[in-house]
């Protein structure tokens, strides 16, 4: 057996390492190092440290801890509650207003935090008890929040998109823009389904609760608007080409931190320390996976795995849409086991050449990939959002959460199908704002 082949086999065999519970970052790194040792001998130990380091030391990656810090600061404050209340006060006269304000709050909070579990927790804490109080069944209450929370990784700014942009060398600003319309479409689909589900159970959507005066409505705004302005400012700066994502994220994080301290009087050093601790925890986890996958991608390409797979697929001459279907199924299965960031980093080096070879737009594909991962977030066994809901609403059975989330999975599949037929939903906005590629 040639060393290349045995190296490949070893690499694939070692991909079982995460299955025994080894952290993904270290499993990727160890599998790569051992395969390189087998193929290239001890000399590989001269380069892996430098590769690992080089994979992480880039200014573009600084945007990851910065955006995480921004999200952590918002999540540590009661901003989620205020956002929820403001929307409820403004939307409660609309039929199905509560559902709309829940999902709307999810997508707005998603923009603020860039994280799906954080969105789920922040809005769910308020939204689920409120829906239960007004007579919505557990399934709908839990399912809509679990699904709404997944929007966090699609609606900009999104850490997942940044990671995709870095690992595929695509423009992060463009990726963010590509996520906007599909994010709105998905929100609308979720809303539509929720209204239908309520109707089918004979639930009147006119349970309005109480009325709010214009004064009460206006009072709810000042606490929420500054945060929304920050997000708007970040997006404006990015798309105006004024600053890079890292710069925008850094300034945005500082502003958010200051606002949280000022508006919510979060003066205690201990709580600020907790914000930084959460940021460190999340960003170390992601950054180390980035380093590990740098080694992994290097190993794959030095064993010619990447090239062979791409050549093999190109040689198959299958219909490109059949190819897209296979890739989607592959991502769906992968998304059920791996967290989004890890999945992107592990598959992007293999998938991107295939995608571009088949003539698909990498920005459009980023949206498809992200929706696939959103599905993974609300399906077992590692559907993070399901467990978040289970944590904040312990009175709802996991079974009800699962059943309630299922229709939303179908909504996301529908969104993928729509995007396949009308790719412009993802590509139109970036073309308009930044110009055609």
């Amino acid at each position: 057996m040639s060393p290349g082949l045995s190296g490949t086999l070893l690499l694939l065999g070692l991909m079982a390492l995460p299955a025994i519970g080894m952290p993904i970052a270290f499993a990727l790194g160890l599998a790569s190092i051992l395969a390189l040792l087998l193929v290239n001998g001890l000399g590989s130990l001269d380069i892996v440290g430098e590769l690992f380091y080089g994979g992480m030391a880039s200014f573009a990656l600084v945007s990851i801890p910065m955006f995480i810090l921004m999200g952590a600061a918002v999540s540590a404050s009661p901003a989620g509650r205020d956002l929820y209340e403001a929307l409820d006060r403004w939307l409660n006269r609309v039929p199905g207003g509560l559902v709309l304000s829940n999902l709307g709050a999810c997508s707005l909070f998603a923009a603020l935090s860039g994280s799906s579990p954080a969105t789920c927790a922040a809005i769910g804490k308020m939204g689920i008890p409120e829906m239960q109080k007004r007579g919505y069944p557990d399934e709908i209450a839990a399912g809509s929040i679990a699904a709404g929370g997944t929007l966090g990784i699609l609606i900009p700014p999104s850490v997942t998109m940044i990671v995709y942009g870095i690992s595929t060398e695509t423009s992060i600003g463009r990726l963010f823009l590509a996520g906007v319309l599909p994010g709105i479409m998905l929100t609308a689909l979720f809303m539509l389904w929720t209204v239908i589900a309520c109707r089918r159970r004979g639930l009147g959507l006119e349970q309005l609760g109480r009325r709010f005066s214009l004064g009460e409505r206006l009072v709810a705004l000042p606490r929420v608007l500054p945060f929304l302005l920050i997000v708007a400012a970040i997006l404006f700066v990015l798309y105006g080409g004024i600053a890079t994502p890292s710069e925008a994220a850094g300034v945005g994080a500082l502003f958010t931190l200051v606002l949280v301290v000022l508006i919510y009087r979060l003066f205690s050093l201990r709580r600020l320390g907790l914000v930084f601790r959460d940021t460190l925890k999340e960003s170390v986890m992601i950054m180390l996976i980035i380093g590990g996958s740098e080694l992994f991608a290097y190993t794959l390409s030095s064993l010619y795995v990447t090239q062979s797979v791409a050549a093999w697929i190109a040689g198959l001459e299958v219909n490109r849409w059949l190819l897209m279907l296979i890739i989607n199924l592959f991502l769906l299965v992968g998304g059920c086991f791996l967290p989004p960031v890890a999945l992107i980093l592990m598959t992007a080096p293999i998938l991107l050449p295939i995608i571009t070879e088949a003539g698909f737009d990498p920005y459009w594909f980023a949206v498809i990939l992200t929706i696939n991962m959103e599905i993974g977030l609300i399906t077992p066994p590692v559907g993070l959002n399901l467990y978040v809901i289970n944590g904040i609403a312990p009175d709802i059975k996991l079974r009800s959460i699962l059943l309630g989330s299922l229709p939303y999975v179908l909504c996301m599949v529908l969104a993928i199908v729509i995007l396949c037929f009308v790719p412009e939903i993802a590509t139109w906005l970036p073309d308009q704002v930044i110009g055609a590629r």
Partner: protein, 162 residues
């Protein structure tokens, strides 16, 4: 043994605290850079590099602390469905594999550090920072991670024998 666990845990916590400070510094320096560059139309020399290396250093130095917080994401389906005995075996195997990773990558990164020092490498910018300074957190962080994993192993053993 208990002293070892306590000392290593304290070390990891201290490194984690330092990492948080690095992140704070990074946020402040990015903002400073943006102000100088876009508002004052000035040019910046060291900020971009400082921020990049601070974020990387925070990652490496913080990795042991994040282990303590159980923040390194893994797939725990198999350990969760396994019986208590199999689970203990899986845990030990995965910790040993992590130790091997720290050893191999750690060895390689000391080599990287040594080369940077011996050849007097500098960063390719106006700042000309000696490259060994930003590299140093890599081997240090991996050493801390190694020590913390050993502590986890010892803790698991003492819990098992109880």
């Amino acid at each position: 043994m208990r002293t070892y666990i306590r000392v290593v845990t304290a070390l990891s916590r201290a490194a984690g605290f330092f990492s948080c400070l690095l992140l704070l510094a990074a946020v402040l320096v990015v903002t400073h850079m943006v102000v100088v560059r876009y508002l004052l139309q000035g040019s910046t020399v060291w900020q971009t590099e400082f921020v990049t290396y601070a974020a990387v250093a925070a990652t490496f130095l913080g990795s042991g602390y994040v282990l303590l917080l159980k923040g390194h994401v893994n797939i725990d389906i198999l350990p969760n469905v396994a019986g208590p005995r199999l689970r203990r075996v899986l845990d030990v195997v995965s910790v040993l594999a992590c130790l091997l990773f720290c050893l191999l990558l750690g060895w390689s990164s000391w080599h990287f550090l040594y080369e940077a020092l011996a050849n007097g490498w500098k960063t390719p910018t106006v700042w000309k920072l000696p490259l060994w300074i930003p590299i140093l957190p890599l081997p240090l962080g991996l050493a801390l991670l190694f020590l913390q994993y050993v502590a986890e192993l010892l803790r698991a053993r003492s819990e098992a024998s109880r």
